[in-house]
């Protein structure tokens, strides 16, 4: 993401990439585990949940950043929650209008985006202290990072647990689906596997720096 002629200083590629890679909400910060584990039974579910969260995150960070000089410190959390809840309600209606099947698959987890700690965390730690554009870029990065995380989990679980990806059968009839992967315990197994991979990558990198 390049923004060459921006008057706002301090927006770098890193503002965006922070959430995608270095501070990835799922793989590094391990935040928002409730939707992460519960809805990622398929790639579509994971991706949709990720996009819904991305929308709420970006819109609420924009609004929080726009009114950051207006809001007295004492009522800031209450204000942020009202803003976040508003955008979650919006997403709720939009998903119902787009696809009822998806709405039923995601269930209560759409409403539960309100209490996703990534969103309140970003609003409090970043958006309330930064100009709108920077806040949006940062929120976009975090949201994309979260969506990638959910998609990675959802795709892995769908491939292993159902032998499909986006509903398309990948293997022949001889493939016996590993059903436990689409059940709740499978969520933990797959998340553990991904965390292991990221920890391995990190320790490799640190080892290289020292050497």
């Amino acid at each position: 993401m390049s923004l060459p002629n921006q008057a706002d200083e301090g927006i770098t590629f890193d503002t965006f990439m922070e959430g995608v890679w270095r501070q990835n909400p799922v793989f590094v910060m391990v935040l928002g585990m409730c939707p992460t584990l519960a809805v990622t039974v398929s790639a579509v579910n994971g991706l949709s949940m990720g996009v819904a969260t991305l929308f709420v995150l970006v819109s609420s960070c924009l609004l929080v950043s726009l009114i950051r000089h207006l809001v007295p410190k004492e009522v800031r959390i209450a204000t942020y929650i009202v803003i976040i809840a508003t955008f979650v309600t919006l997403v709720d209606y939009l998903i119902q209008a787009a696809s009822l099947a998806l709405y039923e698959a995601l269930g209560a987890f759409i409403q539960l985006i309100v209490v996703n700690c990534i969103i309140l965390g970003r609003a409090e730690a970043h958006a309330s202290k930064n100009p709108p554009l920077k806040a949006v870029v940062n929120a976009l990065g975090m949201g994309v990072g979260f969506a990638i995380g959910l998609f990675a989990l959802g795709a892995t679980r769908e491939i292993l647990g159902a032998g499909k990806l986006f509903g398309i059968t990948l293997f022949g009839d001889n493939f016996q689906p590993w059903v436990v992967m689409v059940l709740p315990p499978g969520g933990f197994f797959v998340l553990g596997g991904w965390l292991l991979l990221f920890a391995l990558l990190r320790s490799r990198k640190e080892g290289k720096v020292q050497a």
Partner: protein
């Protein structure tokens, strides 16, 4: 924080004003989204219902909602609430406007959660001619066989739900039997290994048919017009 904390006092009026402003902005946004999506959501719900009804009653082209009560059957206007003690059902008609059958919802407690199915009813023969799952959270690979298991679905090609002469109950209650022991047309052959889910479907259909059929059958002629 290294600097000493200074007691700051924001006047209460400013806090209230801020919250009121934020709440008004949010209120406008929510109302806007509601107004903007309401039609699409209603349309989605209608399509979903039609698709479910057409699946259990092949050949149907239009659906009308009705409520059956002890006083008879009345059409149910869109969005209207069900009368006390009433049972909701859907009458399906083909292109020419001839009654194809009746669909109603049944619900039974399954392994993980309630299993809700829609069943199609043939008024001429007084049998259930098909089921479709509306909602379930059963174990993938085990309980969800109720959607895919052809032998199980064969139970619902002509499931006997005749009403007795007094119009009080079914002649034979719908019953789920152990896999491979079905002998009568009102029995459902359970899926081996998914007995709990099979029983949920059977019990749900029995509960619903016991309630609906005695109310519906005496008035079935009214639907044909």
């Amino acid at each position: 924080m290294s600097e000493p904390i200074q007691p700051q006092t924001t006047p209460g009026s400013k806090m209230i004003a801020t919250m009121a402003l934020v709440a008004s902005i949010c209120g406008v946004l929510i109302v806007g989204a509601f107004e903007g999506t309401q039609d699409a959501i209603a349309e989605n719900k209608r399509i979903m219902l039609e698709r479910a009804v057409f699946k259990v009653l092949p050949g149907a082209a239009s659906v009308r909602e009705y409520a059956a009560t002890s006083a008879g059957i009345q059409p149910l206007a869109a969005g209207a609430s069900l009368p006390e003690g009433g049972v909701k059902f859907y009458a399906a008609y083909d292109q020419a406007g001839v009654l194809k059958g009746v669909a109603a919802e049944a619900a039974g407690k399954g392994y993980a959660d309630v299993v809700r199915v829609l069943y199609g009813y043939d008024a001429e023969r007084q049998v259930i001619i098909g089921i479709g799952v509306v909602f379930m959270r059963e174990t993938p690979g085990i309980g969800d066989k109720i959607i895919t298991d052809q032998a199980f679905l064969k139970n619902f090609e002509a499931l006997d739900v005749r009403v007795n002469a007094e119009m009080t109950a079914l002649v034979n209650a719908v019953k789920v039997v152990k896999h491979g022991t079905k002998t009568s047309p009102w029995q459902i052959d359970a899926i081996a290994g998914a007995t709990v889910t099979s029983k949920a479907v059977g019990r749900g259909i029995n509960d619903s048919a016991q309630k609906l059929m005695p109310l519906l059958v005496p008035h079935i002629a009214e639907l044909k017009s």
